[in-house]
Structures are given as C-alpha cells and as structure tokens.
C-alpha cells in the first residue's frame, strides 16, 4: 500500500511553486476521491524550514485516478 500526505486546499496552495529541496518542486495532486495529497518522498526529503509542518500531515492510502491510455 502506498501512503500519501493529506493536504487541505490552503496547504496545497502554500506548496505550489515551492521547492522541498534544491531543484525539486512540490507537486500536490488530487487522488481518486479528489483529496489533495503529496508523496511521502516530498515529506521525507523536505529541507525547506517553511514547511516543517509537513511531518504532521495525516497519511492516507493513495488511490490513483485512472490513467487514460490510447
């Protein structure tokens, strides 16, 4: 089971365009239930002190949206 960090919309907006480490940007996405989430890699590799609160995020099971393949 893959886990991801659950974000509020306000938290998602704070992360957009920001780096969690040098040359690595946060990428909040929506899961199958339209929750905003980020990966545990972004949480664990975060070196940006502005986002130390990430370690307190609730972790939930990742349910991906369906990939359309043509």
């Amino acid at each position: 089971m893959i886990e991801v960090g659950l974000l509020t919309i306000e938290q998602k907006d704070l992360l957009l365009g920001q780096q969690y480490a040098t040359d690595s940007y946060f990428n909040p996405i929506q899961d199958l239930d339209n929750n905003w989430v980020i990966s545990t890699e972004e949480i664990e590799q975060n070196t940006n002190e502005n986002f130390n609160w990430l370690t307190n995020l609730e972790l939930i099971e990742y349910k991906p949206k369906e990939v359309k393949i043509l």
């Binding site: 040098t22 940007y25 359309k68």
Partner: protein, 296 residues
C-alpha cells in the same frame, strides 16, 4: 591526457613564463562537467568519452537534448549535455513531486514524480517525420503496471468523459501489460513488442523511410505503420508523459502528467535515427553506463 609545455626564458632582468596547456577534455564535455559540478574523475572521463563518441559517430548533431543523469543529485541530473545552462530554454529539467536521485539515476515514486524537459515537439522539431526519443531504464516492472518513461500527448475527440472516439497525437514510451509500446505520431503510428524485463536503452524513432520503429539495446524490435504526422504542443516529460485535452481545457498550459515508475539513467530527444545510429548509440550508452558501474 594533459600536456604541459613550459618555456622559461631569461631576457635581461625579465623572466617570461609561457605555459601552454593542451587538454584532452572535449569543450562540450567540459562545459557540462563545469555546469553540473561533476568532480569525480571517473564520471568526468565517462562524460568525455560519451561526447567524443557521439561526435565521432555523427550522433551529436542529431540530438536536441541529452540527459546523462550523472552525479547523484537533482542539481546535477537536471542539465542537458547539449546546452548545459540553467534555463528552461536550454531544456534543463525541472523536477516535480517525489523523485529519488542517486548515483544510479533518478527514480520516480509512481505517484506524482516527473521531470519537465520544456521541450515542445511542435516548436523544436522542424520535420514531424524525423524525430526520436530514448531512455535507459534500470527497472523492470510487473506485467500489469502502466508506466510512462518519456512523452507528450494531445488527446482530442473527447465528449465529456467519453473517450470512445478519442484520438491521440502522442510521442511516448510506456510499459504496459508486459509489452513496451512506442507511439510516435498519431494514434495509428504505434510499434510495440513483448518485453518482460524492460531493462536497457529504448529508442522510439520516426524518420523519412516511412515507418516508426522501436529499438531496444540497439536492436530493431518492431516497425509500425506511419500514420499522419503531428507534433505535440505540450512538453516532453521524463519519468512521465504530458497529456493535454484541448476539447476540455482551452489553455494549452493546462496539461497533466501521467507518471512513470522506472529508474532512468540516460535519455535523449532529437531527430530521426538510422539503424546504424541506433547500434552506435547503444554501444556508446552501454559503455557510459558500464564506466559508471550502473549498466543493466
């Protein structure tokens, strides 16, 4: 090998020192080594040998972007060997989401990690019938795991959420149901082959000979019929493929990313390659990976 010649002359009270240094490092290799702050001599040598080989085999000019993915960090992996500037216009990678960088390459998390090349096929490729892209994969996946490695895709003909009549203008690799699928052009332009291990160098190619071709480790694996030419106007991604639905979103910047799951250790984008080019490219890339002790 460096050659140093020192001339010291005493002319009256003046001592003139002339130092001539002749370096064997190719200037393009040196520019990349400097930009990416590659200090390891083995890595430096591997990069130089790669550049010299690409030039000797007439591959260098056929490449628009080359990603050696060497050094072990995002700040080193981001650089394009053909133009090692820290600029979007130089096709420097921007990493988004969860990616693990190491000496073996870059591994996306399969959730939201990918790299944007900023390479727009529609503006960067002059001839839609001369185009290639490649990746070197160090990961093999299970048979039912779709994973995009590189690509850009425009999907049209969608009615609300109904994809029944959808068509795609796509350029990508994907491993899917135990096969590797290459699309290079419209939906009909597809080459796929059974591929249970998904390790090594993959090249998707389209050239003026009238077909698209899929190569693995320098070997032609399949040829697909050439559909109508088309070039996507959303960016090529690494460790993923951009997907844009113009029928749903008016702004071309509103593309989304289908992500990958395989560790990549090399990638290129450029014009179409011949059979000989593919053989030579594999020989060079495999030697490069072997020097770096990460060959598969």
């Amino acid at each position: 090998m460096a050659t140093n010649i020192n001339f010291n002359k005493i002319l009256g009270v003046k001592k003139i020192a002339i130092s001539i240094k002749s370096s064997s490092i190719d200037p393009d290799a040196q520019a990349f080594i400097t930009a990416a702050a590659i200090t390891d001599p083995t890595q430096q040598s591997a990069i130089n040998t790669l550049v010299v080989g690409l030039k000797a085999d007439n591959l260098w000019t056929k490449m628009k972007a080359i990603y050696p993915i060497v050094g072990g960090t995002a700040s080193q992996h981001k650089y394009n060997l053909k133009d090692p500037q820290d600029l979007d216009s130089a096709f420097r990678l921007q990493f988004n989401g969860g990616i693990t960088h190491s000496a073996n390459g870059m591994l996306p998390n399969g959730v939201n990690g990918y790299a944007n090349t900023y390479f727009l096929p529609s503006t960067q490729i002059a001839n839609a019938d001369s185009f290639h892209f490649s990746v070197y994969s160090r990961t093999t996946l299970g048979p039912f795991v779709p994973a995009f490695d590189i690509g850009a895709s425009i999907i049209t003909g969608i009615d609300n959420d109904d994809f029944a009549n959808a068509e795609t203008n796509a350029f990508y690799f994907i491993q899917y149901f135990g096969s590797t699928v290459v699309k290079n052009g419209f939906y009909s332009a597809t080459a796929s082959f059974i591929d249970p291990t998904s390790l090594g160098l993959y090249v998707g190619n389209r050239n003026s000979t009238g077909n698209i071709t899929a190569y693995k480790n320098g070997v032609l694996k399949n040829t697909g019929s050439l559909g109508p030419s088309g070039l996507a106007y959303c960016p090529m991604l690494l460790m993923g493929a951009s997907v844009y639905y113009p029928d749903l979103y008016p702004n071309p910047n509103d593309w989304s990313a289908s992500v990958g799951k395989r560790q990549l250790a090399f990638a290129t984008i450029g014009v179409g390659l011949s059979n000989t080019d593919n053989t030579n490219l594999y020989t060079l890339v495999q030697a490069f990976q072997t020097t770096l002790s990460r060959q598969v």
